[in-house]
Subunit: 121 residues, 2 copies
């Protein structure tokens, strides 16, 4: 039998003999772009050294909650910088903020951390 | 018994009655800064929509490997952009690159993905 134009090439295995002029997708479809963007935004929240330090403090504290004053004492950045990062963690839904007397307290929302874990490939 | 200076305050629970003028750290120490930076760099690698899409293609492909031509066909960015992101994934140790004929193939290093998983709080 003679191959005619349009016949598939004989299967030679994908590691060798692949037709280098034609590329037939073997994989796919990709993660939809909207979902990829959503996951990337979640992962960006924890892709910061100061936010990782603040989360480590809260995760290690009794009841998984900590006061902004406690945290400022433990990291090598200013209190406004700590507050800035805590605000980002609250906006991302990872922490909840509560006023107690003069101080702001923050507690972890572990279900949100699980969502971030699920956003990894 | 009369409290003297230096006596610890009676335990009133951490949710109420906390001395608002003095802040004694309850948590800590924080994750060391060097380690926090290392983890943040790992997480930044996957905190990008296109890189998440490329990883989804490779994870879903036979043998967890894919050709750059396959991947370009499946995402909505140009081939140079795909190559740029693949290079970043290689530099981060998440992918290994191999030349086969005219095409570059990429396969996953799952142990590196596990390191990224462990970098999460």
């Amino acid at each position: 039998m003679t191959a005619t134009i349009g016949d598939p090439a004989p299967d030679q295995g994908q590691d060798q003999g692949r037709d280098e002029t034609v590329c037939v997708p073997l994989a796919g479809p990709a993660l939809p772009l909207d979902e990829a963007r959503r996951r990337a935004e979640l992962l960006k929240v924890v892709a910061d050294p100061v936010r990782l330090q603040l989360l480590s403090l809260i995760l290690g504290a009794p009841g998984q909650e900590s006061c902004v004053c406690d945290m400022t004492a433990q990291v090598d950045v200013s209190q406004p910088t700590v507050s800035h990062h805590l605000k980002q963690l609250v906006e991302a839904g990872l922490l909840e903020r509560e006023r107690r007397g003069s101080w702001a307290w923050f507690h972890l929302r572990p279900e949100r951390l699980e969502e971030i874990r699920a956003a990894l490939p």
